[in-house]
């Protein structure tokens, strides 16, 4: 890790303390949101599909805190239930991309030669394919739903992680301590798993946090287009889309509250990612 630590730009004194409080606070809110999503049935005031036709398109009130949608379903309950799909999707995408990307990046750096060349070519190819377009193609192939866009986006985000990993791992591999470990008779697997992977991790963790935000946006966009999860499922991107006709009719609560929630989550993970690891040094030059 020394190599990357040295290239970090000097931070202003006194900045550090505030940074950590902000990251910790945002992290805590994210954890709370995730915790609220799992036992949503216990917390949510209403069933997410229960309709109260008298309350249709109503604004915030004591009975419906964030109003009700065009079918009279409680927006707050749907946001809480929606957090499950909206947060589970990007979690699956980024977990897959991080594991796959880190493994490919370290293997490329360690093995070099033809493996590196072939992997780089394939990754470059997926890099040249916009994630949203890949998702749309996957939907055309498999059909609408949760699986197609999640698989496509996991593929689209893998090269992003793999490139950064490879850059750092190559730099690390050339350091003297790796040579020393090797001359002590330590095998390639052991060095990769116990030394290269931990060295790469801090930067990858930050990259993954930021990638989580954009994966969430991409996945929500697919749902917004009507190609992802289908009604009556509750999902944030779908809620923005479903609320749009009510918005034009003067009842903006569903679209706006789902939209603001998306912005908040993306802002939170971006902030955490940027503050906990420096992305400019690793990301831009990957």
């Amino acid at each position: 890790m020394t190599a990357t630590a040295l290239t970090l730009p000097a931070e202003k004194p006194g900045w550090r303390g505030r940074v950590d409080i902000l990251s910790a606070a945002l992290g805590a809110v994210m954890v709370l949101l995730a915790l609220a999503a799992v036992p949503a049935p216990l917390i949510a005031p209403y069933d997410p599909t229960a309709t109260d036709i008298l309350a249709a398109n109503s604004g915030p009130s004591p009975t419906h805190w964030l109003g009700a949608d065009d079918l009279g379903r409680d927006v707050l309950s749907r946001l809480l239930y929606g957090a499950r799909l909206s947060l589970l999707g990007p979690t699956l995408i980024i977990a897959t991309a991080t594991v796959l990307g880190t493994a490919l990046g370290i293997a490329s750096a360690w093995l070099g030669g033809w493996f590196d060349a072939v992997t780089s070519r394939i990754l470059d190819f997926f890099f040249a394919f916009p994630g949203l377009l890949l998702s749309v193609l996957a939907v055309a192939m498999i059909g609408t739903g949760f699986l197609a866009p999640v698989t496509a986006l996991a593929l689209a985000y893998t090269p992003y992680i793999a490139r950064v990993t490879r850059t750092i791992a190559v730099r690390e591999r050339n350091l003297a301590y790796v040579e020393a470990l090797r001359s002590h008779g330590l095998g390639g697997w052991a060095i990769c798993l116990r030394h290269l992977a931990p060295a790469v991790w801090p930067v990858i963790r930050a990259q993954s946090a930021i990638a989580f935000g954009s994966a969430l946006v991409d996945l929500a966009a697919v749902s917004y287009l009507g190609l992802g999860v289908q009604p009556p499922s509750a999902e944030w991107g779908l809620m923005v889309a479903q609320g749009q006709s009510a918005l034009l009719g003067g009842a903006p609560w569903q679209s706006l509250s789902a939209g603001v929630l998306i912005i908040f989550v993306v802002l939170a993970v971006n902030t955490i990612g940027e503050r906990t690891g420096n992305t400019d040094t690793a990301g831009a030059r990957a």
């Binding site: 040249a128 916009p130 949203l132 055309a140 192939m141 009507g226 609320g243 749009q244 918005l247 802002l267």
Partner: protein
């Protein structure tokens, strides 16, 4: 020069590989094109005739080569939904999308560069712009679309909420703003960081101490040195827009190729999906390759590095 040639060849190979992946993805999708083309009342024999006439009874590799050859001639086959040639359906829509992309690219460049330069030069501006650009990056285009519709179409009534049937620039302003917001915010962050880095360099201090005008130093030493990085990120932003049009066109009801792609996926119109995916990937690769070449032209260090690398054995 040789490196530039390699970039272009690489781009062409990537495009070829993309065409294969797109073709295979659609070939694997469920649904029989021949029976769709024949219509619901067709007999099995009629379907067989149409299948043969369209070459759908041939093995997959042959079909791919045939499709690729027709694409190069501008023939993308027949739409299964509209029973019309795909190119005639695309022609009026490509213009809409191009207009949207151009206006958005202009907004990103003006907004991103402007905000980045202000952020790098003015101290109070910097603090405000750090927060604004941080928030801006986090706003997805479809959320920006609903916010803009709420404010500018419903509250203020300045611009139409739905662009369908609205001619000229009026219908494109809100969509372009929605699409530009997060990219412009991102570009401004990169521009600010890049200019800050250059402003802190010794040679800038020396140029100033020699009494050169601040504007001249900024233009010739700071902006010039930051140009390659700014170009790269701008190019990536424009490339990213191309797929982004899909979402915004759908949000505002613009009849471009993006919203047509969504309709065609929903309607399982595989020939249209093939054609639009290929066009979008081609535009994406064209933009990134052009950016790469421009970056190379702007940064003499890369040219020098490429020359020494070419000297070494590969």
């Amino acid at each position: 020069m040789r490196a530039a040639l390699r970039t272009v060849t690489g781009a062409l190979l990537t495009l070829l590989a993309s065409s294969l992946v797109i073709f295979l993805a659609l070939a694997a999708s469920p649904g029989d094109a021949a029976s769709r083309l024949a219509g619901s009342k067709a007999t099995a024999a009629q379907i067989a005739v149409i299948r043969h006439a369209n070459g759908l009874d041939q093995p997959l590799p042959l079909r791919y080569l045939h499709w690729l050859k027709s694409c190069l001639h501008g023939d993308f086959g027949t739409s299964l939904q509209y029973q019309q040639s795909v190119s005639s359906l695309l022609a009026p829509r490509v213009g809409q999308t191009l207009a949207l992309v151009s206006l958005t690219a202009l907004l990103i460049m003006v907004g991103g560069l402007g905000a980045g330069i202000v952020g790098a030069l003015s101290r109070p501006g910097s603090a405000a712009l750090t927060v604004l650009s941080g928030v801006g990056v986090a706003v997805p285009s479809f959320v920006a679309a609903t916010l803009l519709i709420q404010v500018f179409a419903l509250w203020l009534g300045w611009l139409p909420a739905i662009s369908t049937g609205v001619g000229g620039l009026r219908g494109l302003i809100l969509p372009a703003l929605a699409l530009a917001l997060s990219w412009a915010a991102y570009l401004s962050q990169v521009v600010r960081a890049s200019l800050r880095e250059q402003l802190g360099q010794e040679h800038v201090a020396i140029a100033r101490s020699r009494g050169l005008s601040p504007a001249g130093v900024f233009r010739r030493h700071v902006l010039r040195n930051a140009a390659p990085e700014i170009t790269t990120v701008s190019g990536l932003a424009v490339a990213g827009l191309i797929a982004g049009t899909v979402v915004v066109e759908q949000a505002f009801g613009i009849g471009g190729i993006g919203s047509f792609l969504v309709q065609s996926v929903a309607g399982k119109d595989s020939n249209v999906v093939l054609a639009i995916s290929l066009l979008m990937v081609a535009a994406f690769i064209l933009t990134t390759t052009a950016t790469d070449l421009l970056h190379r032209a702007l940064d003499p260090r890369i040219r020098a590095a490429a020359k020494t690398r070419e000297g070494q054995a590969r």
